[in-house]
């Protein structure tokens, strides 16, 4: 590898990263352009570029997007939300608690943005009915979505990438991350109570309007609903057993998606139209960009540097990765960050010979929970605030920061204690 290859790879990577951060150009457009430059400057051949793409991550995302696209047509999520709001007798604070838990659980099984897209519309209908400020309702949902998504392999794209690269399966994530996420959710709900409970006052008449809502009207297709529930259940069962069955997680998701498309009889063009192709191409381009750095040896140099800084001590690496990921992910897109960190951590493992498994958990916790820090920290935050803006309510950067950043710090402190106690 020539020196100019190294300089070009680093130059392209840094320049593209800067443009992504600046948000001046669409992130997918600039990332694909950057990846094409690596080919143009012969830093990677086409075959090498393709070999850098993690098709397990891409396949898992496509499979789950298809399953969700079909399932959301049934109205099941709206049914559950209305049923839950009535079950807590339309009491605002209880609605926040039950919706936050529902969001966290749904986010653990689905993509965070998808969960937000499903839960916020019904939440806004409820706050309209109650004639109350929607922000104390929506903000906890955004935070819960990012927290819940951290709990499983399929909950958040960084986890999918980490699981695929590190060979960690669904059960590994359940065993290592779900318990601490449950603890974090309990603490965060307590914080929500301190923050929002006093501001929620409604009249008996408005509460009764919630009780008059009919959840059955939300079900659009009960036959499709049954099919979706069966396939969703089998797919989650498949994730639980995929390591024992010898399947990649993407295989499970794609089989589930293929069977659901077959039995649902929903037009495939309609389903595929709802796939977030821009996000998928962004992933593909990032894998190639980071692959370029790997190919020219830069990742190895960075890993060596990190080992020198931490003097090869796992505790320092753990804390550095957890807090570094959290702080950076609170202001940056966590997907390119995790895409860069994965080969770096792998390389640190190869160079030091130590068991780096705890570092993967530190990266997952930091990158996913860090997204709660600011309004631009995670896609769910941006989508949630965008939906509020469409509804005529502005969730400003500062108002979000006032709640999001301290809660993010609390969750990272809890994660630090957890990692230090259980992994050292």
């Amino acid at each position: 590898m020539e020196l100019y290859h190294v300089i070009a790879a680093v130059g392209i990577f840094v320049a593209i990263y800067m443009v992504i951060i600046s948000e001046k150009i669409n992130r997918t457009t600039i990332a694909v352009f950057g990846a094409s430059l690596l080919l143009l400057f012969k830093i990677l051949t086409q075959e090498q570029a393709l070999s850098k793409i993690d098709f397990n991550t891409i396949g898992l995302l496509i499979g789950m997007m298809i399953i969700v696209s079909i399932t959301r047509r049934t109205g099941a999520f709206e049914y559950l939300a209305i049923w839950a709001a009535k079950a807590v007798k339309g009491e605002p604070w209880r609605i926040i608690v039950v919706f936050s838990i529902f969001t966290a659980v749904a986010s653990a099984m689905l993509d965070n943005v998808t969960t937000i897209l499903l839960i916020i519309p019904i939440t806004l209908v409820i706050t309209d009915t109650l004639e109350t400020d929607p922000i104390p309702f929506v903000l906890p949902l955004i935070l819960s979505s990012n927290i819940g998504g951290t709990a499983t392999l399929i909950g958040d794209p960084p986890n999918i990438m980490i699981g695929s690269a590190a060979g960690l399966g669904f059960i590994d994530f359940i065993k290592n991350l779900t318990p601490i996420i449950i603890v974090i959710m309990i603490v965060v709900i307590f914080i929500f109570r301190l923050l929002f409970r006093k501001s929620l006052h409604i009249t008996e008449e408005k509460r009764m309007k919630i009780m008059q809502m009919d959840e059955k009207l939300a079900i659009k297709d009960s036959v499709l609903l049954k099919k979706c529930l069966v396939i969703l259940g089998l797919t989650i069962g498949g994730f639980v057993a995929h390591q024992y069955l010898g399947f990649e997680s993407a295989t499970v998701a794609l089989i589930g998606a293929a069977v659901l498309m077959l039995i649902s009889k929903v037009d495939p063009e309609e389903v595929l139209l709802e796939i977030e192709w821009a996000t998928l191409f962004f992933f593909v381009a990032l894998f190639i960009l980071v692959g370029g750095l790997e190919e020219v040896g830069v990742i190895r140099i960075l890993a060596n540097g990190m080992l020198n800084i931490t003097q090869g001590k796992l505790v320092l690496m753990l804390v550095l990765i957890l807090w570094g990921s959290a702080l950076l992910s609170s202001v940056l897109d966590n997907i390119p960050f995790v895409a860069t960190m994965i080969p770096l951590i792998k390389s640190m493992g190869e160079l030091s010979g130590m068991d780096i498994t705890p570092l993967w958990w530190a990266l997952a916790l930091g990158a996913c929970l860090g997204g709660n820090g600011t309004l631009v920290g995670a896609s769910a935050n941006v989508v949630g605030s965008g939906m509020l803006a469409k509804h005529g309510q502005k969730l400003t950067f500062m108002r979000y920061l006032k709640y999001g950043f301290p809660i993010m710090i609390v969750t990272i402190v809890i994660s630090t204690v957890y990692l230090l106690v259980f992994y050292l």
């Binding site: 916020i120 519309p121 019904i122 209908v125 009919d214 659009k220 469409k390």
Partner: protein, 159 residues
Amino acid sequence: MRNIINSAEVSQHTIKLQQMGAKVQVINSTLCYVHFNIEGLDLEYVYNINYNGNYFLERIQPYPLAIEEFDTEHDLVKLIQSDVNKFRNAMKSRHVDRFISIAKQINKTFTTFEDTFLNYNIPTEKVDKIYKKILALEFEIDMIREIAKGIELEDPEDN
């Protein structure tokens, strides 16, 4: 991101409409906006190509008019072309401005009538009176068609 947020907004409307008792079917479609400028007159149409391949055409300028539903793109373009030809010819008339203001007034009158009918208890004799006046107006228009000379326009098919 905008598309994602819009789709969530559709969900919100859907839930509200369902709670009102409606059955809501969300169909992906493409909306086309067409603009002509004929000697200073803005002639604008919107049509929507839906999932089943049907086209719903509406004229929005110089005055709104729901036109019709078409099965083929050929029929749609043919109708727009015929409409444009008629307006192009109408622009030669000294009465074009009055014609457009009368058409706008008819639209406005209909809106006022609907608003009155839906928001007020109207005595039967007043309803009868309005009906008779409308019939008289229709008769007047029919009479004009009887005595006025027809305009021969090129068939768009011939182009």
